[in-house]
């Protein structure tokens, strides 16, 4: 145990004495979360819309008022034919068009359903997605009112409540993604660099000749990063809560437990990378291309998976951060418990086991 303590102590010296590592470990999470929080927001406000009201009855008028009264939308013009819609989109004067079908109120009364067609400019899929979400949420809240009127006649609710992230504040969506990215960076990239550094310096040989066991070397190498990663998770959550007033609906301990699982997964990836390369440069490049890019592009962090081409959607199945982001999103914003997110957790757990087994096996082979 003393041997192990000496080893971990040395590892902390490395970390605290290297300014670049320190910067990545502690500066990065703060900068990232502030950056995504303040700059890359996709909140919507005064979105230009056009409305084609084929029915022009009491109900469509009410819905229109509700939509325009929300503050998110601004009516640019009323239109009455299809061609006009496409022209407006082409010119870029509108981002969304709403089409109420003929006899809207009548249909609603007689058939209990009526249709609104929503057309959005999907050249920016994220925004388009958001706009559709906002619009349908407003419409649902209206039908909600109607229904509640039917069952309990005297009650009129005008407050529109949207489930989960009620204001759709974009920063909340970025918090899980940022966490995944930072943990990948710290746990996978920095560890793979730290291990390959020992190889590059030739100190790995000496460690292997020493009485330290291979498992002790690996655990000693990654232990400090487990601690630092957990500190990072806590920092990010604290920042999100204090600066962006993000509510955490679910259990904080579950959130941290899932994060620790993800940290172990990322560490295994880091060890795996360090077994296939002998120098820090290569380790960094592999981490960049094999880990960071997929985390940013394919995990649903920035680009919604459902908007991707089919092939890329299949590819996301093997991207671990996808499951992590999905799980902690549910915990943070919906308050889901383990019974709801167990599938994501199980996939992550399996991935961790496979990666860990693979990396230990590879590490041993390298010794021969």
């Amino acid at each position: 145990m003393n041997k192990f303590k000496a080893f971990v102590k040395k590892e902390f010296y490395h970390i605290f004495r290297d300014k670049r590592t320190m910067l990545i470990l502690f500066g990065m999470p703060i900068v990232q979360i502030l950056l995504f929080g303040f700059v890359i927001t996709t909140e919507i406000k005064d979105v230009e819309i056009a409305i084609w009201d084929k029915s022009k009855d009491e109900v469509t008028q009410k819905i229109t008022n509700k939509i325009l009264g929300s503050g998110y939308f601004k009516l640019v013009k009323n239109i009455d034919n299809e061609q006009e819609i496409y022209n407006a989109f082409k010119k870029g004067t509108i981002k969304e068009a709403l089409i109420f079908e003929n006899n809207f109120a009548q249909n609603l009364n007689n058939r209990n359903n009526a249709n609104i067609q929503i057309i959005t400019d999907a050249s920016d899929p994220n925004i388009a997605n958001l706009i559709v979400n906002y619009t349908s949420a407003i419409v649902y809240s209206y039908t909600g009112e109607l229904n509640s009127n039917l069952t309990i006649p005297m009650q009129i609710k005008t407050e529109s409540t949207m489930l989960y992230n009620s204001e759709l504040k974009s920063v909340f969506m970025f918090v899980p993604g940022t966490m995944a990215m930072i943990l990948m960076l710290v746990s996978a990239m920095i560890t793979s660099i730290a291990i390959t550094r020992e190889k590059e310096l030739g100190t790995m040989e000496v460690l292997l000749v020493s009485p330290l066991k291979v498992s002790q070397i690996i655990i000693g190498k990654v232990a400090p990063y487990i601690v630092l990663s957990i500190i990072n998770v806590i920092t990010i959550i604290a920042l999100a809560m204090s600066i962006f007033h993000m509510p955490i609906v679910g259990s904080l301990s579950l959130l941290i437990a899932v994060s620790i699982l993800f940290i172990f997964m990322a560490l295994s990836l880091g060890i795996l990378i360090s077994t296939v390369t002998n120098d820090q440069q290569t380790a960094m490049m592999i981490s960049m291309f094999a880990l960071m890019l997929p985390t940013i592009l394919l995990s649903g962090f920035i680009f919604p998976i459902e908007n991707m081409p089919k092939i890329l959607q299949w590819l996301t199945v093997i991207i671990p951060p996808k499951y992590y982001i999905s799980a902690i999103k549910d915990i943070m914003l919906k308050g889901s418990g383990l019974s709801y997110i167990w599938k994501d957790v199980a996939v992550l757990f399996l991935m961790t086991l496979v990666l860990l087994g693979l990396s230990i096996k590879k590490f041993k082979i390298r010794l021969e």
């Binding site: 003393n2 080893f7 020493s210």
Partner: protein, 245 residues
């Protein structure tokens, strides 16, 4: 004399390639044993096996009184190792390096402190104690690296080309340290490219194509090959190699 390394019919194969072809030799306690050979002759492979880093394909091996197949942990605790890259952590101070390497050999804090002080005094590095290794000249690092390799008082220390890239005067000083260690009863197992250093060894083995072609004292080898110095002995033997570079 007491034998600390016993090797009988050591064979190491990598698929079809035979890296060590039936090596048999003994190393005695307190001896400086030179392990020579051209690049690719199989030195490193044999040394890795003796350090319990890899398993032989066949043969009987005993290092520091322990069996290479079954008692690797015990072997590791009883040997020291210094690589050609000196293997110090540049972002740690002289004292922290000593502390770390002594620590992973399981020495107690009290003993670590005691030995570190002695070592620093002996190397005349008192002023450098708390300086980062990155600020030390190469020669000092080399001496420090060797002293650290024997800080846990091993039975045998393996030196893998320990004098690469160092000037002749520093090399001479370094050999003084080696003699000191040998006088203390530590067996020195050293590989080198410098033939003048081969003369400093008590006995020398020369490997060609995975086999030991010669093993004796430098004097006897020179006589046997009718050579003026070890360099000539080495060249005569190396010419036999089938895979010339």
């Amino acid at each position: 004399m007491e034998k600390v390394i016993i090797v009988k019919n050591l064979v190491k194969k990598f698929e079809d390639f035979v890296a060590n072809d039936n090596l048999t030799f003994d190393v005695y306690k307190g001896e400086i044993f030179g392990f020579l050979g051209a690049n690719g002759a199989g030195k490193t492979t044999a040394m890795k096996i003796l350090c319990a880093l890899s398993q032989p394909t066949s043969g009987e091996l005993n290092v520091a009184g322990f069996d290479v197949y079954t008692q690797q942990d015990k072997i590791k605790a009883n040997i020291g190792y210094m690589s050609q890259r000196f293997s110090l952590y540049e972002d740690l101070t002289v004292f922290e390096n000593i502390q770390f390497y002594a620590g992973i050999y399981g020495l107690s804090n009290k003993i670590i402190k005691e030995r570190a002080e002695n070592l620093i005094k002996k190397l005349e590095m008192v002023e450098m104690k708390n300086k980062l290794v990155s600020s030390l000249p190469l020669g000092w690092r080399q001496k420090l690296s060797f002293s650290i390799a024997i800080i846990h008082k091993p039975q045998i220390v393996f030196l893998d080309e320990p004098t690469g890239g160092v000037d002749p005067i520093t090399r001479r000083q370094f050999w003084d340290l080696i003699y000191d260690a040998a006088n203390d009863g530590i067996t020195i197992f050293v590989t080198t490219h410098y033939m003048d250093e081969a003369e400093y060894c008590n006995r020398v083995s020369i490997m060609v194509d995975g086999r030991i072609e010669a093993l004796d004292t430098p004097q006897n080898l020179k006589k046997q090959f009718n050579a003026e110095d070890m360099n000539e002995v080495f060249i005569q033997l190396a010419r036999k190699s089938k895979n010339k570079e």
